[in-house]
Symmetry: C3
Subunit: 138 residues, 3 copies
Protein backbone atom coordinates (compact mmCIF):
# COMPACT_ATOMS: atom_id res chain seq x y z
CA UNK A 1 0.00 0.00 0.00
CA UNK A 2 2.65 2.46 1.14
CA UNK A 3 4.38 1.39 -2.05
CA UNK A 4 1.55 2.75 -4.20
CA UNK A 5 1.31 6.05 -2.32
CA UNK A 6 5.02 6.63 -3.02
CA UNK A 7 4.52 6.11 -6.74
CA UNK A 8 4.10 9.43 -8.53
CA UNK A 9 2.30 7.99 -11.58
CA UNK A 10 -0.25 6.29 -9.31
CA UNK A 11 -0.75 9.54 -7.34
CA UNK A 12 -1.31 11.44 -10.59
CA UNK A 13 -3.78 8.79 -11.76
CA UNK A 14 -5.65 8.97 -8.43
CA UNK A 15 -5.93 12.74 -8.72
CA UNK A 16 -7.14 12.89 -12.32
CA UNK A 17 -9.42 9.83 -12.07
CA UNK A 18 -11.10 11.34 -8.99
CA UNK A 19 -11.55 14.72 -10.68
CA UNK A 20 -13.07 13.28 -13.86
CA UNK A 21 -15.35 10.88 -11.94
CA UNK A 22 -16.56 13.80 -9.78
CA UNK A 23 -17.29 15.68 -13.02
CA UNK A 24 -19.32 12.69 -14.21
CA UNK A 25 -21.25 12.55 -10.91
CA UNK A 26 -22.05 16.26 -11.30
CA UNK A 27 -24.22 15.38 -14.34
CA UNK A 28 -26.94 13.92 -12.06
CA UNK A 29 -27.71 17.13 -10.15
CA UNK A 30 -27.32 19.06 -13.44
CA UNK A 31 -30.03 16.88 -15.03
CA UNK A 32 -32.23 17.60 -12.01
CA UNK A 33 -31.55 21.32 -12.34
CA UNK A 34 -32.51 21.32 -16.04
CA UNK A 35 -35.58 19.21 -15.26
CA UNK A 36 -36.80 21.76 -12.70
CA UNK A 37 -36.00 24.89 -14.71
CA UNK A 38 -37.49 23.36 -17.89
CA UNK A 39 -40.53 22.29 -15.87
CA UNK A 40 -40.41 18.65 -16.99
CA UNK A 41 -42.64 16.55 -14.80
CA UNK A 42 -41.44 13.06 -13.93
CA UNK A 43 -45.03 11.78 -13.98
CA UNK A 44 -45.21 12.52 -17.67
CA UNK A 45 -41.99 10.88 -18.83
CA UNK A 46 -43.14 10.79 -22.43
CA UNK A 47 -42.92 14.55 -22.56
CA UNK A 48 -39.24 15.05 -23.19
CA UNK A 49 -37.43 18.36 -23.11
CA UNK A 50 -34.52 18.83 -25.57
CA UNK A 51 -32.26 20.48 -22.93
CA UNK A 52 -32.86 17.71 -20.38
CA UNK A 53 -32.30 15.04 -23.03
CA UNK A 54 -29.02 16.69 -24.04
CA UNK A 55 -27.69 16.62 -20.46
CA UNK A 56 -28.79 12.97 -20.14
CA UNK A 57 -27.02 12.01 -23.38
CA UNK A 58 -23.92 13.85 -22.14
CA UNK A 59 -24.03 11.82 -18.89
CA UNK A 60 -24.39 8.60 -20.91
CA UNK A 61 -21.45 9.62 -23.10
CA UNK A 62 -19.43 10.17 -19.90
CA UNK A 63 -20.22 6.64 -18.71
CA UNK A 64 -19.19 5.27 -22.11
CA UNK A 65 -15.86 7.13 -22.17
CA UNK A 66 -14.75 7.96 -18.61
CA UNK A 67 -15.13 4.37 -17.32
CA UNK A 68 -12.82 2.95 -20.05
CA UNK A 69 -10.30 5.71 -19.16
CA UNK A 70 -10.41 4.79 -15.47
CA UNK A 71 -9.97 1.05 -16.12
CA UNK A 72 -7.26 1.36 -18.77
CA UNK A 73 -5.61 4.31 -16.96
CA UNK A 74 -5.23 2.24 -13.77
CA UNK A 75 -3.64 -0.67 -15.65
CA UNK A 76 -1.48 1.84 -17.55
CA UNK A 77 -0.23 3.34 -14.27
CA UNK A 78 0.97 -0.14 -13.26
CA UNK A 79 3.08 -0.49 -16.44
CA UNK A 80 5.50 2.08 -15.01
CA UNK A 81 5.42 4.86 -17.64
CA UNK A 82 7.42 8.09 -17.30
CA UNK A 83 5.66 10.58 -15.02
CA UNK A 84 5.70 13.28 -17.71
CA UNK A 85 4.17 10.95 -20.34
CA UNK A 86 1.53 9.74 -17.88
CA UNK A 87 0.66 13.30 -16.82
CA UNK A 88 0.30 14.27 -20.48
CA UNK A 89 -2.21 11.44 -21.04
CA UNK A 90 -4.21 12.19 -17.88
CA UNK A 91 -4.30 15.96 -18.47
CA UNK A 92 -5.30 15.70 -22.12
CA UNK A 93 -8.06 13.18 -21.34
CA UNK A 94 -9.53 15.10 -18.40
CA UNK A 95 -9.27 18.40 -20.30
CA UNK A 96 -10.99 16.89 -23.34
CA UNK A 97 -13.89 15.63 -21.21
CA UNK A 98 -14.43 19.03 -19.59
CA UNK A 99 -14.51 20.65 -23.05
CA UNK A 100 -16.85 17.85 -24.22
CA UNK A 101 -19.29 18.49 -21.35
CA UNK A 102 -19.35 22.26 -21.86
CA UNK A 103 -19.81 21.80 -25.64
CA UNK A 104 -22.62 19.30 -25.11
CA UNK A 105 -24.56 21.07 -22.35
CA UNK A 106 -24.35 24.52 -23.95
CA UNK A 107 -24.96 23.00 -27.43
CA UNK A 108 -21.89 24.78 -28.84
CA UNK A 109 -21.45 24.50 -32.62
CA UNK A 110 -19.53 21.47 -33.87
CA UNK A 111 -16.75 20.32 -34.17
CA UNK A 112 -15.99 21.26 -30.52
CA UNK A 113 -17.95 18.32 -29.11
CA UNK A 114 -16.91 15.76 -31.72
CA UNK A 115 -13.27 16.81 -31.58
CA UNK A 116 -13.05 16.64 -27.76
CA UNK A 117 -14.66 13.18 -27.88
CA UNK A 118 -12.09 11.96 -30.44
CA UNK A 119 -9.17 13.38 -28.44
CA UNK A 120 -10.37 11.50 -25.33
CA UNK A 121 -10.74 8.27 -27.32
CA UNK A 122 -7.21 8.58 -28.80
CA UNK A 123 -5.73 9.20 -25.32
CA UNK A 124 -7.36 6.04 -23.98
CA UNK A 125 -6.26 4.03 -27.04
CA UNK A 126 -2.68 5.25 -26.53
CA UNK A 127 -2.71 4.00 -22.91
CA UNK A 128 -4.34 0.70 -23.98
CA UNK A 129 -1.57 0.24 -26.55
CA UNK A 130 1.07 0.54 -23.82
CA UNK A 131 -0.81 -1.88 -21.54
CA UNK A 132 -1.11 -4.49 -24.32
CA UNK A 133 2.53 -4.15 -25.42
CA UNK A 134 3.90 -4.16 -21.83
CA UNK A 135 1.65 -6.59 -19.97
CA UNK A 136 0.45 -9.03 -22.62
CA UNK A 137 -0.45 -12.50 -21.33
CA UNK A 138 -3.14 -14.14 -23.41
Amino acid sequence: MADLMNNDVFLAFSTYATIVVLKMMFMSPLTGYFRITRKVQLKKMLQTNPDVERVRRCHQNDLENIIPFVVIGLLYAFTGPDLSTALLHFRVFVGSRFIHTVSYVLALPQPSRGLSWVVGMITTFSMAYRVLTTALLL
Copy 2:
Protein backbone atom coordinates in the same frame (compact mmCIF):
# COMPACT_ATOMS: atom_id res chain seq x y z
CA MET B 1 -0.29 -9.11 -3.86
CA ALA B 2 -0.02 -10.85 -0.50
CA ASP B 3 0.49 -7.31 0.80
CA LEU B 4 -2.99 -6.27 -0.34
CA MET B 5 -4.70 -9.36 1.06
CA ASN B 6 -3.18 -8.56 4.48
CA ASN B 7 -4.61 -5.06 4.39
CA ASP B 8 -7.90 -4.90 6.27
CA VAL B 9 -9.19 -1.76 4.51
CA PHE B 10 -8.59 -3.38 1.12
CA LEU B 11 -10.35 -6.57 2.26
CA ALA B 12 -13.33 -4.52 3.46
CA PHE B 13 -13.41 -2.63 0.16
CA SER B 14 -13.29 -5.92 -1.80
CA THR B 15 -16.21 -7.28 0.21
CA TYR B 16 -18.49 -4.25 -0.07
CA ALA B 17 -17.59 -3.46 -3.70
CA THR B 18 -18.39 -7.05 -4.70
CA ILE B 19 -21.71 -7.01 -2.80
CA VAL B 20 -22.88 -3.73 -4.33
CA VAL B 21 -21.78 -4.70 -7.86
CA LEU B 22 -23.66 -8.03 -7.50
CA LYS B 23 -26.73 -6.00 -6.44
CA MET B 24 -26.31 -3.89 -9.60
CA MET B 25 -26.02 -7.02 -11.78
CA PHE B 26 -29.23 -8.34 -10.21
CA MET B 27 -31.15 -5.49 -11.92
CA SER B 28 -30.82 -7.24 -15.33
CA PRO B 29 -32.74 -10.41 -14.40
CA LEU B 30 -35.17 -8.21 -12.42
CA THR B 31 -35.90 -6.19 -15.57
CA GLY B 32 -36.49 -9.45 -17.43
CA TYR B 33 -38.83 -10.66 -14.67
CA PHE B 34 -40.89 -7.44 -14.82
CA ARG B 35 -40.92 -7.60 -18.61
CA ILE B 36 -42.39 -11.12 -18.55
CA THR B 37 -44.91 -10.55 -15.73
CA ARG B 38 -46.02 -7.21 -17.27
CA LYS B 39 -46.25 -8.93 -20.67
CA VAL B 40 -44.10 -6.38 -22.50
CA GLN B 41 -43.03 -7.76 -25.83
CA LEU B 42 -39.53 -6.92 -27.01
CA LYS B 43 -40.74 -6.81 -30.62
CA LYS B 44 -42.86 -3.80 -29.77
CA MET B 45 -40.30 -1.69 -27.91
CA LEU B 46 -42.38 1.43 -28.33
CA GLN B 47 -44.93 0.01 -25.94
CA THR B 48 -43.37 0.83 -22.60
CA ASN B 49 -44.58 -0.43 -19.27
CA PRO B 50 -44.19 1.94 -16.27
CA ASP B 51 -42.92 -0.86 -13.96
CA VAL B 52 -40.31 -2.05 -16.45
CA GLU B 53 -39.20 1.53 -17.11
CA ARG B 54 -38.81 2.12 -13.36
CA VAL B 55 -36.52 -0.91 -12.96
CA ARG B 56 -34.49 0.23 -15.98
CA ARG B 57 -34.09 3.75 -14.58
CA CYS B 58 -33.04 2.22 -11.26
CA HIS B 59 -30.38 0.15 -13.07
CA GLN B 60 -29.15 3.25 -14.88
CA ASN B 61 -29.01 5.14 -11.56
CA ASP B 62 -26.91 2.28 -10.17
CA LEU B 63 -24.43 2.61 -13.05
CA GLU B 64 -24.24 6.37 -12.45
CA ASN B 65 -23.60 6.01 -8.69
CA ILE B 66 -22.07 2.60 -7.93
CA ILE B 67 -19.28 2.90 -10.52
CA PRO B 68 -18.03 6.22 -9.04
CA PHE B 69 -18.11 4.56 -5.59
CA VAL B 70 -16.03 1.61 -6.82
CA VAL B 71 -13.42 3.83 -8.52
CA ILE B 72 -13.11 6.39 -5.73
CA GLY B 73 -13.45 3.71 -3.02
CA LEU B 74 -10.50 1.76 -4.45
CA LEU B 75 -8.29 4.87 -4.53
CA TYR B 76 -9.54 5.77 -1.04
CA ALA B 77 -8.51 2.32 0.27
CA PHE B 78 -4.97 3.03 -0.95
CA THR B 79 -4.76 6.29 1.06
CA GLY B 80 -4.54 4.18 4.25
CA PRO B 81 -7.60 5.38 6.21
CA ASP B 82 -8.55 3.93 9.64
CA LEU B 83 -10.40 0.63 9.26
CA SER B 84 -13.35 1.91 11.32
CA THR B 85 -13.68 5.08 9.19
CA ALA B 86 -13.41 3.08 5.98
CA LEU B 87 -15.99 0.51 7.16
CA LEU B 88 -18.35 3.37 8.06
CA HIS B 89 -18.08 4.77 4.51
CA PHE B 90 -18.51 1.38 2.82
CA ARG B 91 -21.44 0.29 5.02
CA VAL B 92 -23.32 3.59 4.69
CA PHE B 93 -22.88 3.62 0.90
CA VAL B 94 -23.91 0.00 0.33
CA GLY B 95 -26.82 0.34 2.76
CA SER B 96 -28.00 3.52 1.03
CA ARG B 97 -27.99 1.79 -2.37
CA PHE B 98 -30.03 -1.18 -1.11
CA ILE B 99 -32.59 1.26 0.35
CA HIS B 100 -32.51 3.21 -2.94
CA THR B 101 -33.23 0.08 -5.00
CA VAL B 102 -36.11 -1.07 -2.78
CA SER B 103 -37.58 2.47 -2.78
CA TYR B 104 -37.28 2.73 -6.56
CA VAL B 105 -38.56 -0.72 -7.56
CA LEU B 106 -41.49 -0.72 -5.11
CA ALA B 107 -42.18 2.97 -5.90
CA LEU B 108 -42.17 3.84 -2.19
CA PRO B 109 -43.25 7.42 -1.35
CA GLN B 110 -40.51 10.04 -1.36
CA PRO B 111 -38.18 11.11 0.24
CA SER B 112 -36.91 7.52 0.78
CA ARG B 113 -35.45 7.27 -2.73
CA GLY B 114 -34.12 10.84 -2.93
CA LEU B 115 -32.63 10.68 0.56
CA SER B 116 -30.85 7.34 -0.01
CA TRP B 117 -29.43 8.72 -3.28
CA VAL B 118 -28.09 11.85 -1.51
CA VAL B 119 -26.54 9.79 1.32
CA GLY B 120 -24.68 7.65 -1.25
CA MET B 121 -23.44 10.77 -3.08
CA ILE B 122 -22.17 12.37 0.16
CA THR B 123 -20.33 9.15 1.13
CA THR B 124 -18.55 9.08 -2.23
CA PHE B 125 -17.72 12.81 -2.00
CA SER B 126 -16.25 12.25 1.47
CA MET B 127 -13.92 9.54 0.12
CA ALA B 128 -13.03 11.69 -2.92
CA TYR B 129 -12.10 14.53 -0.52
CA ARG B 130 -9.65 12.24 1.30
CA VAL B 131 -8.15 11.00 -1.99
CA LEU B 132 -7.62 14.56 -3.27
CA THR B 133 -6.15 15.82 0.03
CA THR B 134 -3.90 12.76 0.51
CA ALA B 135 -2.77 11.85 -3.00
CA LEU B 136 -2.84 15.13 -4.93
CA LEU B 137 -0.43 15.31 -7.86
CA LEU B 138 -1.70 17.57 -10.62
Copy 3:
Protein backbone atom coordinates in the same frame (compact mmCIF):
# COMPACT_ATOMS: atom_id res chain seq x y z
CA MET C 1 4.33 -1.81 -8.70
CA ALA C 2 7.08 -4.05 -10.05
CA ASP C 3 5.43 -6.66 -7.83
CA LEU C 4 2.19 -6.47 -9.83
CA MET C 5 3.93 -6.63 -13.21
CA ASN C 6 5.64 -9.88 -12.10
CA ASN C 7 2.30 -11.44 -11.23
CA ASP C 8 1.00 -13.56 -14.08
CA VAL C 9 -2.65 -13.45 -13.00
CA PHE C 10 -2.54 -9.64 -12.89
CA LEU C 11 -0.88 -9.54 -16.33
CA ALA C 12 -3.60 -11.82 -17.73
CA PHE C 13 -6.30 -9.66 -16.15
CA SER C 14 -4.71 -6.50 -17.63
CA THR C 15 -4.67 -8.06 -21.07
CA TYR C 16 -8.26 -9.36 -21.10
CA ALA C 17 -9.75 -6.32 -19.31
CA THR C 18 -8.11 -4.01 -21.86
CA ILE C 19 -9.33 -6.10 -24.81
CA VAL C 20 -12.93 -6.26 -23.60
CA VAL C 21 -13.02 -2.55 -22.68
CA LEU C 22 -11.68 -1.69 -26.15
CA LYS C 23 -14.48 -3.85 -27.61
CA MET C 24 -16.97 -1.85 -25.53
CA MET C 25 -15.50 1.47 -26.74
CA PHE C 26 -15.85 0.24 -30.33
CA MET C 27 -19.65 0.36 -29.91
CA SER C 28 -19.61 4.19 -30.09
CA PRO C 29 -18.16 4.47 -33.62
CA LEU C 30 -20.34 1.49 -34.62
CA THR C 31 -23.45 3.39 -33.50
CA GLY C 32 -22.25 6.35 -35.54
CA TYR C 33 -21.70 4.11 -38.57
CA PHE C 34 -25.22 2.66 -38.32
CA ARG C 35 -26.65 6.15 -37.79
CA ILE C 36 -25.03 7.41 -41.02
CA THR C 37 -25.80 4.35 -43.18
CA ARG C 38 -29.39 4.18 -41.86
CA LYS C 39 -29.71 7.94 -42.46
CA VAL C 40 -30.94 8.74 -38.98
CA GLN C 41 -30.75 12.44 -38.37
CA LEU C 42 -29.76 13.56 -34.87
CA LYS C 43 -32.04 16.59 -35.17
CA LYS C 44 -35.04 14.28 -35.30
CA MET C 45 -34.22 12.06 -32.34
CA LEU C 46 -37.82 10.83 -32.11
CA GLN C 47 -37.35 8.98 -35.38
CA THR C 48 -35.60 5.84 -34.22
CA ASN C 49 -34.10 3.25 -36.49
CA PRO C 50 -34.28 -0.41 -35.32
CA ASP C 51 -30.66 -1.15 -36.31
CA VAL C 52 -29.30 1.91 -34.50
CA GLU C 53 -31.40 1.12 -31.42
CA ARG C 54 -30.08 -2.46 -31.41
CA VAL C 55 -26.45 -1.26 -31.40
CA ARG C 56 -27.27 1.21 -28.62
CA ARG C 57 -28.92 -1.50 -26.49
CA CYS C 58 -25.89 -3.72 -27.10
CA HIS C 59 -23.60 -0.90 -25.87
CA GLN C 60 -25.79 -0.46 -22.77
CA ASN C 61 -25.68 -4.22 -22.14
CA ASP C 62 -21.87 -4.01 -22.35
CA LEU C 63 -21.80 -1.27 -19.70
CA GLU C 64 -24.07 -3.38 -17.47
CA ASN C 65 -21.92 -6.53 -17.80
CA ILE C 66 -18.34 -5.60 -18.67
CA ILE C 67 -17.94 -3.07 -15.84
CA PRO C 68 -18.93 -5.66 -13.17
CA PHE C 69 -16.41 -8.07 -14.78
CA VAL C 70 -13.63 -5.47 -14.62
CA VAL C 71 -14.32 -4.58 -10.96
CA ILE C 72 -14.80 -8.13 -9.69
CA GLY C 73 -12.04 -9.48 -11.96
CA LEU C 74 -9.51 -7.02 -10.51
CA LEU C 75 -10.42 -8.00 -6.93
CA TYR C 76 -10.37 -11.67 -7.99
CA ALA C 77 -6.83 -11.29 -9.39
CA PHE C 78 -5.73 -10.06 -5.93
CA THR C 79 -7.05 -13.23 -4.24
CA GLY C 80 -4.19 -15.19 -5.81
CA PRO C 81 -6.01 -17.82 -7.90
CA ASP C 82 -4.17 -20.38 -10.04
CA LEU C 83 -3.13 -18.88 -13.38
CA SER C 84 -4.94 -21.61 -15.33
CA THR C 85 -8.21 -21.07 -13.42
CA ALA C 86 -7.93 -17.31 -13.82
CA LEU C 87 -7.20 -17.59 -17.54
CA LEU C 88 -10.22 -19.88 -17.95
CA HIS C 89 -12.47 -17.24 -16.33
CA PHE C 90 -11.04 -14.33 -18.34
CA ARG C 91 -11.13 -16.20 -21.69
CA VAL C 92 -14.67 -17.51 -21.23
CA PHE C 93 -15.96 -14.06 -20.22
CA VAL C 94 -14.26 -12.15 -23.03
CA GLY C 95 -15.24 -14.81 -25.58
CA SER C 96 -18.87 -14.73 -24.40
CA ARG C 97 -19.01 -10.94 -24.81
CA PHE C 98 -17.65 -11.06 -28.35
CA ILE C 99 -20.27 -13.69 -29.25
CA HIS C 100 -22.91 -11.55 -27.51
CA THR C 101 -21.99 -8.46 -29.54
CA VAL C 102 -21.99 -10.30 -32.88
CA SER C 103 -25.34 -11.97 -32.02
CA TYR C 104 -26.86 -8.65 -30.99
CA VAL C 105 -25.60 -6.44 -33.82
CA LEU C 106 -26.34 -8.97 -36.58
CA ALA C 107 -29.66 -9.92 -34.89
CA LEU C 108 -28.77 -13.63 -35.01
CA PRO C 109 -31.56 -16.00 -33.92
CA GLN C 110 -31.77 -16.79 -30.22
CA PRO C 111 -30.51 -18.42 -28.02
CA SER C 112 -27.02 -17.23 -29.16
CA ARG C 113 -27.41 -13.81 -27.53
CA GLY C 114 -29.20 -14.99 -24.38
CA LEU C 115 -26.79 -17.86 -23.87
CA SER C 116 -23.64 -15.75 -24.28
CA TRP C 117 -25.09 -13.22 -21.80
CA VAL C 118 -25.76 -15.99 -19.23
CA VAL C 119 -22.26 -17.46 -19.64
CA GLY C 120 -20.71 -14.04 -18.97
CA MET C 121 -22.89 -13.56 -15.87
CA ILE C 122 -21.95 -17.01 -14.48
CA THR C 123 -18.23 -16.31 -15.02
CA THR C 124 -18.48 -13.05 -13.08
CA PHE C 125 -20.51 -14.73 -10.30
CA SER C 126 -17.85 -17.44 -10.03
CA MET C 127 -15.12 -14.81 -9.53
CA ALA C 128 -17.32 -12.89 -7.05
CA TYR C 129 -17.80 -16.13 -5.08
CA ARG C 130 -14.03 -16.53 -4.73
CA VAL C 131 -13.59 -12.87 -3.70
CA LEU C 132 -16.29 -13.14 -1.01
CA THR C 133 -14.98 -16.47 0.34
CA THR C 134 -11.31 -15.35 0.30
CA ALA C 135 -11.42 -11.68 1.25
CA LEU C 136 -14.54 -11.35 3.41
CA LEU C 137 -14.42 -8.51 5.95
CA LEU C 138 -17.86 -7.13 6.70
